[in-house]
Protein backbone atom coordinates (compact mmCIF):
# COMPACT_ATOMS: atom_id res chain seq x y z
CA UNK A 1 0.00 0.00 0.00
CA UNK A 2 1.32 3.42 -0.90
CA UNK A 3 2.40 5.87 1.78
CA UNK A 4 0.12 8.42 0.17
CA UNK A 5 -2.96 6.31 0.88
CA UNK A 6 -1.89 5.77 4.48
CA UNK A 7 -1.29 9.49 4.84
CA UNK A 8 -4.84 10.05 3.59
CA UNK A 9 -6.15 7.65 6.25
CA UNK A 10 -4.17 9.57 8.85
CA UNK A 11 -5.67 12.84 7.63
CA UNK A 12 -9.19 11.41 7.42
CA UNK A 13 -9.27 10.26 11.03
CA UNK A 14 -8.19 13.79 11.95
CA UNK A 15 -11.00 15.28 9.82
CA UNK A 16 -8.37 16.89 7.61
CA UNK A 17 -8.67 14.89 4.40
CA UNK A 18 -9.40 16.66 1.14
CA UNK A 19 -12.18 15.64 -1.23
CA UNK A 20 -9.63 14.17 -3.62
CA UNK A 21 -8.14 12.05 -0.87
CA UNK A 22 -11.56 10.71 0.11
CA UNK A 23 -12.18 9.75 -3.53
CA UNK A 24 -8.79 8.07 -3.73
CA UNK A 25 -9.54 6.07 -0.59
CA UNK A 26 -12.89 5.02 -2.00
CA UNK A 27 -11.24 3.85 -5.21
CA UNK A 28 -8.66 1.78 -3.37
CA UNK A 29 -10.70 0.47 -0.47
CA UNK A 30 -11.38 -2.94 -1.94
CA UNK A 31 -8.05 -3.52 -3.66
CA UNK A 32 -5.82 -2.48 -0.74
CA UNK A 33 -6.55 -4.91 2.07
CA UNK A 34 -4.23 -3.23 4.58
CA UNK A 35 -5.99 0.08 4.12
CA UNK A 36 -8.86 -0.91 6.40
CA UNK A 37 -6.47 -2.21 9.04
CA UNK A 38 -4.59 1.09 8.99
CA UNK A 39 -7.77 2.91 10.07
CA UNK A 40 -8.07 0.70 13.13
CA UNK A 41 -4.38 0.76 14.03
CA UNK A 42 -4.25 4.57 13.97
CA UNK A 43 -7.42 4.77 16.01
CA UNK A 44 -6.14 2.25 18.50
CA UNK A 45 -3.03 4.40 18.96
CA UNK A 46 -5.28 7.41 19.56
CA UNK A 47 -7.45 5.45 21.92
CA UNK A 48 -4.47 4.38 24.05
CA UNK A 49 -3.12 7.93 24.17
CA UNK A 50 -6.43 9.57 25.04
CA UNK A 51 -8.14 7.05 27.28
CA UNK A 52 -7.46 5.79 30.75
CA UNK A 53 -6.22 2.23 30.38
CA UNK A 54 -9.33 0.70 31.97
CA UNK A 55 -11.36 2.12 29.07
CA UNK A 56 -8.96 0.90 26.41
CA UNK A 57 -9.26 -2.64 27.69
CA UNK A 58 -12.96 -2.68 26.89
CA UNK A 59 -12.56 -1.45 23.32
CA UNK A 60 -12.16 -4.39 20.93
CA UNK A 61 -8.68 -4.73 19.43
CA UNK A 62 -7.65 -4.28 15.79
CA UNK A 63 -8.38 -7.86 14.71
CA UNK A 64 -11.81 -7.82 16.31
CA UNK A 65 -12.52 -4.44 14.74
CA UNK A 66 -11.57 -5.84 11.34
CA UNK A 67 -13.90 -8.80 11.79
CA UNK A 68 -16.67 -6.52 12.98
CA UNK A 69 -16.12 -4.24 10.00
CA UNK A 70 -16.52 -7.18 7.65
CA UNK A 71 -19.63 -8.38 9.48
CA UNK A 72 -21.27 -4.97 9.23
CA UNK A 73 -20.15 -4.44 5.65
CA UNK A 74 -21.65 -7.81 4.65
CA UNK A 75 -24.87 -6.94 6.46
CA UNK A 76 -25.02 -3.58 4.69
CA UNK A 77 -24.49 -5.33 1.35
CA UNK A 78 -27.65 -7.32 2.08
CA UNK A 79 -29.56 -4.10 2.68
CA UNK A 80 -31.43 -2.23 -0.01
CA UNK A 81 -29.21 -0.02 -2.15
CA UNK A 82 -30.41 3.56 -2.25
CA UNK A 83 -31.19 4.77 -5.72
CA UNK A 84 -32.33 7.98 -7.27
CA UNK A 85 -35.89 6.66 -6.81
CA UNK A 86 -35.47 6.21 -3.07
CA UNK A 87 -37.98 8.16 -0.98
CA UNK A 88 -35.40 10.83 -0.16
CA UNK A 89 -34.83 11.54 -3.82
CA UNK A 90 -38.51 11.45 -4.65
CA UNK A 91 -39.10 14.33 -2.24
CA UNK A 92 -37.54 16.88 -4.56
CA UNK A 93 -39.57 15.55 -7.46
CA UNK A 94 -42.83 16.57 -5.79
CA UNK A 95 -42.42 20.32 -6.16
CA UNK A 96 -40.96 19.89 -9.64
CA UNK A 97 -43.92 17.74 -10.68
CA UNK A 98 -46.25 20.26 -9.10
CA UNK A 99 -44.70 23.09 -11.07
CA UNK A 100 -44.94 21.05 -14.24
CA UNK A 101 -48.66 20.48 -13.59
CA UNK A 102 -49.14 24.18 -12.91
CA UNK A 103 -47.30 25.13 -16.09
CA UNK A 104 -49.37 22.67 -18.14
CA UNK A 105 -52.57 24.02 -16.62
CA UNK A 106 -51.59 27.58 -17.41
CA UNK A 107 -50.67 26.68 -20.97
CA UNK A 108 -53.97 24.86 -21.42
CA UNK A 109 -55.91 27.82 -20.05
CA UNK A 110 -53.96 30.15 -22.33
CA UNK A 111 -54.65 28.06 -25.41
CA UNK A 112 -58.35 27.75 -24.57
CA UNK A 113 -58.67 31.51 -24.21
CA UNK A 114 -56.65 32.28 -27.28
CA UNK A 115 -58.77 29.85 -29.28
CA UNK A 116 -61.96 31.34 -27.97
CA UNK A 117 -60.99 34.79 -29.16
CA UNK A 118 -61.51 33.93 -32.80
CA UNK A 119 -61.88 31.16 -35.37
CA UNK A 120 -59.03 28.73 -35.76
CA UNK A 121 -56.79 29.29 -38.77
CA UNK A 122 -58.01 27.28 -41.71
CA UNK A 123 -54.94 25.14 -41.88
CA UNK A 124 -55.63 23.83 -38.37
CA UNK A 125 -59.41 23.79 -38.29
CA UNK A 126 -59.69 21.82 -41.49
CA UNK A 127 -56.74 19.52 -41.00
CA UNK A 128 -56.94 18.77 -37.31
CA UNK A 129 -55.82 15.10 -37.57
CA UNK A 130 -52.69 16.10 -39.48
CA UNK A 131 -51.29 18.79 -37.21
CA UNK A 132 -47.96 16.97 -37.09
CA UNK A 133 -47.76 16.98 -40.86
CA UNK A 134 -48.52 20.68 -40.90
CA UNK A 135 -45.70 21.31 -38.47
CA UNK A 136 -43.32 19.46 -40.73
CA UNK A 137 -44.44 20.74 -44.08
CA UNK A 138 -45.99 24.15 -43.68
CA UNK A 139 -44.28 27.40 -42.82
CA UNK A 140 -44.48 28.23 -39.15
CA UNK A 141 -47.41 30.49 -38.38
CA UNK A 142 -46.52 33.61 -36.40
CA UNK A 143 -47.36 33.29 -32.67
CA UNK A 144 -50.80 34.71 -31.88
CA UNK A 145 -50.39 38.06 -30.20
CA UNK A 146 -51.48 38.51 -26.61
CA UNK A 147 -54.70 40.39 -26.50
CA UNK A 148 -56.62 41.96 -23.68
CA UNK A 149 -59.60 39.79 -22.86
CA UNK A 150 -63.08 41.15 -22.66
CA UNK A 151 -64.73 41.26 -19.24
CA UNK A 152 -66.56 37.96 -19.53
CA UNK A 153 -63.40 36.07 -20.50
CA UNK A 154 -61.41 37.79 -17.77
CA UNK A 155 -64.02 36.60 -15.29
CA UNK A 156 -63.73 33.05 -16.60
CA UNK A 157 -59.92 33.21 -16.36
CA UNK A 158 -60.13 34.48 -12.78
CA UNK A 159 -62.38 31.54 -11.92
CA UNK A 160 -59.87 29.10 -13.39
CA UNK A 161 -57.01 30.66 -11.47
CA UNK A 162 -58.97 30.84 -8.23
CA UNK A 163 -59.90 27.21 -8.57
CA UNK A 164 -56.26 26.37 -9.19
CA UNK A 165 -55.29 28.41 -6.14
CA UNK A 166 -57.78 26.54 -3.96
CA UNK A 167 -56.48 23.19 -5.17
CA UNK A 168 -52.92 24.30 -4.44
CA UNK A 169 -53.84 25.26 -0.91
CA UNK A 170 -55.60 21.95 -0.38
CA UNK A 171 -52.42 20.11 -1.43
CA UNK A 172 -50.09 22.30 0.58
CA UNK A 173 -46.98 20.10 0.17
CA UNK A 174 -46.79 20.35 -3.56
CA UNK A 175 -45.07 23.76 -3.46
CA UNK A 176 -47.03 25.12 -6.37
CA UNK A 177 -46.99 28.83 -7.02
CA UNK A 178 -49.89 30.44 -5.21
CA UNK A 179 -51.71 32.97 -7.32
CA UNK A 180 -53.09 36.02 -5.55
CA UNK A 181 -56.85 36.01 -5.94
CA UNK A 182 -58.23 38.22 -8.66
CA UNK A 183 -55.21 38.16 -10.97
Amino acid sequence: MSGKLKESVSALIDDEASEIEVHRLLRNLDSEQDLKKTFFIYQQIRSVLRNPSDKVQRIPGVDQQMKLFQRISDAIDDEETFTIDSPTHRNWLKPVAGLAVAATLLMTVGIVFNNETGPLPDSISTNTPTIAQNVDTQPVEPEPELRELDEEKQKLLREYLNKHDRMTRLKGNTHLVNYPPGQ
Binding site: A11, I13, V48, S53, K55, E79, F82, I84, T88
Partner: protein
Amino acid sequence: MTTGEPSDQQLVERVKRGDKRAFDILQLKYQHKITGLVSRYIKDQDEVLDVTQEAFIKAYRAISGFRGESAFYTWLYRIAINTSKNFLVSKSRRPPDTDIDVDEGEFQDNSAVLRDTESPEQALVTKELEDLIYSAIDDLPEELKVAVTLREFEGLSYEDIAGVMECPVGTVRSRIFRAREAIENKISRFGQ
Protein backbone atom coordinates in the same frame (compact mmCIF):
# COMPACT_ATOMS: atom_id res chain seq x y z
CA MET B 1 -8.14 21.14 2.27
CA THR B 2 -11.45 20.47 3.90
CA THR B 3 -12.52 19.73 7.40
CA GLY B 4 -14.17 16.45 8.35
CA GLU B 5 -17.77 17.42 8.12
CA PRO B 6 -17.82 18.34 4.43
CA SER B 7 -16.11 15.05 3.64
CA ASP B 8 -18.59 13.17 5.86
CA GLN B 9 -21.44 14.94 4.13
CA GLN B 10 -20.01 14.04 0.71
CA LEU B 11 -19.80 10.43 1.79
CA VAL B 12 -23.39 10.52 3.08
CA GLU B 13 -24.56 11.92 -0.25
CA ARG B 14 -22.75 9.14 -2.08
CA VAL B 15 -24.43 6.54 0.14
CA LYS B 16 -27.78 8.12 -0.67
CA ARG B 17 -26.96 7.74 -4.36
CA GLY B 18 -26.34 4.02 -3.88
CA ASP B 19 -22.59 3.90 -3.17
CA LYS B 20 -22.29 1.43 -0.30
CA ARG B 21 -18.49 1.72 -0.28
CA ALA B 22 -18.90 5.30 0.90
CA PHE B 23 -20.66 3.91 3.96
CA ASP B 24 -17.62 1.63 4.48
CA ILE B 25 -15.43 4.72 4.78
CA LEU B 26 -17.78 6.29 7.32
CA GLN B 27 -17.76 3.01 9.21
CA LEU B 28 -13.97 2.76 9.14
CA LYS B 29 -13.76 6.30 10.40
CA TYR B 30 -16.18 5.91 13.28
CA GLN B 31 -16.43 2.22 14.14
CA HIS B 32 -13.64 2.36 16.73
CA LYS B 33 -15.20 5.39 18.35
CA ILE B 34 -18.65 3.80 18.39
CA THR B 35 -17.40 0.52 19.88
CA GLY B 36 -15.67 2.65 22.53
CA LEU B 37 -18.93 4.45 23.21
CA VAL B 38 -21.02 1.27 23.32
CA SER B 39 -18.46 -0.42 25.56
CA ARG B 40 -19.15 2.24 28.16
CA TYR B 41 -22.75 1.07 28.39
CA ILE B 42 -22.33 -2.65 27.90
CA LYS B 43 -19.81 -4.90 29.63
CA ASP B 44 -19.76 -8.02 27.53
CA GLN B 45 -17.52 -7.60 24.50
CA ASP B 46 -19.59 -9.88 22.24
CA GLU B 47 -22.63 -7.79 23.09
CA VAL B 48 -20.64 -4.63 22.35
CA LEU B 49 -19.89 -5.95 18.88
CA ASP B 50 -23.52 -6.93 18.30
CA VAL B 51 -24.88 -3.58 19.46
CA THR B 52 -22.30 -1.70 17.37
CA GLN B 53 -23.35 -3.69 14.33
CA GLU B 54 -27.00 -2.97 15.02
CA ALA B 55 -26.27 0.73 15.41
CA PHE B 56 -24.46 0.93 12.07
CA ILE B 57 -27.22 -0.96 10.27
CA LYS B 58 -29.82 1.35 11.79
CA ALA B 59 -27.73 4.30 10.66
CA TYR B 60 -27.52 2.94 7.13
CA ARG B 61 -31.27 2.38 6.98
CA ALA B 62 -31.96 5.87 8.26
CA ILE B 63 -29.28 7.72 6.31
CA SER B 64 -31.68 8.85 3.62
CA GLY B 65 -33.32 11.00 6.29
CA PHE B 66 -30.04 12.53 7.44
CA ARG B 67 -30.12 16.13 6.25
CA GLY B 68 -26.76 17.27 7.57
CA GLU B 69 -28.31 19.62 10.11
CA SER B 70 -25.95 18.17 12.70
CA ALA B 71 -22.55 16.59 12.29
CA PHE B 72 -22.71 13.04 10.99
CA TYR B 73 -20.95 11.71 14.08
CA THR B 74 -23.41 13.47 16.41
CA TRP B 75 -26.24 11.77 14.56
CA LEU B 76 -24.48 8.38 14.61
CA TYR B 77 -23.59 8.80 18.28
CA ARG B 78 -27.26 9.36 19.14
CA ILE B 79 -28.24 6.19 17.28
CA ALA B 80 -25.51 4.22 19.08
CA ILE B 81 -26.59 5.50 22.51
CA ASN B 82 -30.25 4.69 21.86
CA THR B 83 -29.36 1.26 20.52
CA SER B 84 -27.24 0.57 23.62
CA LYS B 85 -30.00 1.73 25.97
CA ASN B 86 -32.65 -0.28 24.15
CA PHE B 87 -30.39 -3.30 24.34
CA LEU B 88 -29.98 -2.89 28.09
CA VAL B 89 -33.72 -2.48 28.55
CA SER B 90 -34.39 -5.57 26.42
CA LYS B 91 -32.08 -7.51 28.72
CA SER B 92 -33.87 -6.09 31.75
CA ARG B 93 -30.79 -4.14 32.69
CA ARG B 94 -31.09 -0.57 33.75
CA PRO B 95 -29.50 1.95 31.39
CA PRO B 96 -27.55 4.80 33.03
CA ASP B 97 -29.52 7.92 33.92
CA THR B 98 -27.15 10.27 32.14
CA ASP B 99 -25.81 10.10 28.62
CA ILE B 100 -22.20 10.34 27.67
CA ASP B 101 -21.47 13.67 26.07
CA VAL B 102 -20.88 13.48 22.32
CA ASP B 103 -17.45 15.07 22.67
CA GLU B 104 -16.27 12.58 25.23
CA GLY B 105 -17.86 9.48 23.76
CA GLU B 106 -14.75 7.41 23.50
CA PHE B 107 -12.57 9.41 25.81
CA GLN B 108 -12.74 10.83 29.35
CA ASP B 109 -14.05 9.13 32.39
CA ASN B 110 -17.71 9.22 33.32
CA SER B 111 -18.59 7.66 36.64
CA ALA B 112 -22.32 7.70 35.88
CA VAL B 113 -21.80 5.08 33.21
CA LEU B 114 -21.40 1.41 33.94
CA ARG B 115 -17.92 0.31 34.82
CA ASP B 116 -16.21 -2.94 34.21
CA THR B 117 -13.87 -5.08 36.17
CA GLU B 118 -11.15 -6.11 33.78
CA SER B 119 -9.35 -9.39 33.93
CA PRO B 120 -5.67 -9.16 34.98
CA GLU B 121 -4.70 -10.56 31.57
CA GLN B 122 -6.56 -7.83 29.74
CA ALA B 123 -5.02 -5.22 31.96
CA LEU B 124 -1.55 -6.59 31.28
CA VAL B 125 -2.01 -6.62 27.53
CA THR B 126 -3.30 -3.06 27.53
CA LYS B 127 -0.43 -1.92 29.75
CA GLU B 128 2.08 -3.53 27.42
CA LEU B 129 0.53 -1.83 24.39
CA GLU B 130 0.47 1.48 26.21
CA ASP B 131 4.16 1.16 27.13
CA LEU B 132 5.08 0.34 23.54
CA ILE B 133 3.22 3.35 22.19
CA TYR B 134 4.72 5.76 24.72
CA SER B 135 8.17 4.36 24.12
CA ALA B 136 7.67 4.77 20.35
CA ILE B 137 6.70 8.40 20.90
CA ASP B 138 9.79 8.95 23.05
CA ASP B 139 11.95 7.64 20.23
CA LEU B 140 10.45 9.97 17.63
CA PRO B 141 12.42 12.90 16.23
CA GLU B 142 11.45 16.06 18.07
CA GLU B 143 9.34 17.62 15.28
CA LEU B 144 7.28 14.43 14.86
CA LYS B 145 6.85 14.08 18.61
CA VAL B 146 5.60 17.66 18.99
CA ALA B 147 3.21 17.34 16.03
CA VAL B 148 1.62 14.08 17.19
CA THR B 149 1.47 15.25 20.81
CA LEU B 150 -0.32 18.47 19.88
CA ARG B 151 -2.73 16.48 17.78
CA GLU B 152 -3.46 13.53 20.08
CA PHE B 153 -3.16 15.08 23.53
CA GLU B 154 -4.18 18.67 22.86
CA GLY B 155 -6.57 17.89 20.01
CA LEU B 156 -5.33 20.82 17.91
CA SER B 157 -6.24 21.10 14.23
CA TYR B 158 -3.51 20.88 11.59
CA GLU B 159 -3.81 24.60 11.04
CA ASP B 160 -3.33 25.35 14.74
CA ILE B 161 -0.37 22.99 14.92
CA ALA B 162 1.13 24.70 11.87
CA GLY B 163 0.79 28.00 13.74
CA VAL B 164 2.47 26.62 16.85
CA MET B 165 5.28 24.90 14.93
CA GLU B 166 5.63 27.72 12.38
CA CYS B 167 5.52 25.43 9.37
CA PRO B 168 3.08 24.76 6.51
CA VAL B 169 -0.06 22.68 7.14
CA GLY B 170 1.22 20.10 4.64
CA THR B 171 4.31 19.59 6.77
CA VAL B 172 2.15 19.06 9.85
CA ARG B 173 0.05 16.47 8.05
CA SER B 174 3.19 14.65 6.92
CA ARG B 175 4.78 14.77 10.38
CA ILE B 176 1.70 13.38 12.07
CA PHE B 177 1.49 10.61 9.52
CA ARG B 178 5.19 9.74 9.90
CA ALA B 179 4.78 9.67 13.66
CA ARG B 180 1.82 7.29 13.41
CA GLU B 181 3.71 5.11 10.96
CA ALA B 182 6.66 4.87 13.33
CA ILE B 183 4.38 3.95 16.23
CA GLU B 184 2.62 1.40 14.04
CA ASN B 185 5.95 -0.21 13.14
CA LYS B 186 6.81 -0.47 16.80
CA ILE B 187 3.56 -2.12 17.82
CA SER B 188 3.25 -4.32 14.72
CA ARG B 189 4.93 -7.20 16.53
CA PHE B 190 2.48 -6.75 19.36
CA GLY B 191 -0.40 -9.25 19.25
CA GLN B 192 -3.47 -7.27 18.37
